[in-house]
């Protein structure tokens, strides 16, 4: 006997600082997915299992994380989606915000239907400590301003379809296929709440574990003048984590947007 279901995509933002990452864990550990599923279970009076577009690490933020889930028809009977959003916002922690809830065709998966993911990494270099933006940036105290020309020249080596094994946490045996496509890496300056910072915007089809943070940690080595831009190409070819730079801290990273 087949049951008719509705599938939804929920877009949410979170401040990653206090969460032990996105992915659901034991009940005692606060995760984004755990907190969201608890709120969904309360609202719909039944367990709800979600799938996320990006399994962000502990401390990583999200502006446009997308989560999908399905519910039997009768559970949704006549529910208003905007009102559901407000209920979920009231039931979830203050460091999460549900942005929207939209119906999707059957078979939609926030993870597998995604065709493009965008991450942004924020860096502040210089003597002045960041204040308003402090929880959302990587501060390099006392460092000179990063050289954008060097950063851009280095980033060029990573754009395209490559085996990114050098830019992946080696302990992560989840990713057997380490080939990914980086569509673009852009470097630009922005001003948030009056504080200037450098943004490394990385767009790709999908990313390996810690891949964006290792890319940024490696780019920073070049931007600070410690390595030449061509070193990024060598690190990529080596297919060895030890050939790339350090992993940049989680707090500078934000999952910005997912495209379907």
């Amino acid at each position: 006997m087949e049951q008719s279901e509705h599938t939804f995509a929920l877009t949410l933002s979170y401040i990653g600082t206090a969460f032990h990452g996105f992915a659901r864990q034991d009940d005692d550990v606060q995760t984004v997915q755990g907190a969201l599923e608890a709120a969904l279970a309360t609202v719909f009076a039944q367990p709800v299992w979600t799938v996320g577009a990006g399994r962000t690490d502990a401390g990583v933020h999200a502006l446009g994380q997308v989560v999908s889930f399905s519910l039997p028809d009768e559970v949704l009977n006549g529910r208003d989606l905007a009102r559901l959003c407000r209920s979920l916002n009231a039931l979830t922690p203050d460091d999460m915000a549900i942005r929207s809830l939209a119906p999707k065709p059957a078979g939609f998966s926030a993870r597998f239907s995604a065709i493009e993911r965008e991450y942004r990494y924020r860096i502040v270099a210089g003597d002045t400590p960041p204040l308003f933006t402090a929880p959302f940036v990587w501060w390099l105290p006392g460092r000179p301003w990063l050289d954008y020309n060097l950063l851009r020249a280095a980033a060029e080596h990573l754009v395209g379809e490559h085996d990114f094994q050098s830019f992946c946490v080696s302990a992560s045996s989840i990713d057997k296929n380490t080939v990914r496509t980086v569509k673009s890496i852009s470097i630009f300056g922005v001003d948030h709440l009056g504080e200037p910072c450098t943004v490394v915007q990385v767009i790709g089809n999908a990313f390996l574990h810690s891949m964006v943070r290792i890319i940024v940690g490696s780019l920073a080595e070049v931007g600070l003048g410690r390595r030449p831009p061509a070193w990024l190409g060598e690190a990529l070819e080596a297919q060895d984590r030890r050939a790339a730079g350090p992993t940049a801290p989680a707090q500078g990273l934000t999952l910005w947007r997912v495209r379907y």
Copy 2:
């Protein structure tokens, strides 16, 4: 016997949330000036009395607050100003950041030498709660987006030299002369950390107690369509606090910059 002194201007930012305002109070109350003077006293091994450009209220933030102080020559002997900044940042609370320290001519006062002060007020209207910017904005939940044309038409009534008694906390008997010059009020949209908000930028020679917050609270009445733009002109002419709108919350306000 005259003592030779050096005068300095210190520029600092702070998150106003946890401070009981800028102005020094009893020792048990955490204020910006109190915390700064305690750090200065430690660094210079003597009491230091400061003067601030703007006495911001409890909960009001600052990007470019300016504070002046003077010290006898011998106290400064050979001190490096960049290093002093770093020491002060280490000694002050995490929700304060000293941006710069610069020598000034004798007689300079952060308060009385200022020719122009700029405040910015951030408003978020709509169903989605602000997240990354939440401590720095006034959220109008469920309200429609503010009408910029109405806001701008209303603001025009306040630009120029006027008696702003209607836009001043009536209990404040400090301000006997309530004439001030508002040089400009600009309304524009910005994006901070991925979240859109409306900025009301107010530039003037000086401001009365809560003046910017009452201006913004009154403008919001117009932007939400509750009052016509001309109402701002009537409120101004009335010279009566009751004629203007409510005082907008402190957390949306930032002392942005002071010009000398």
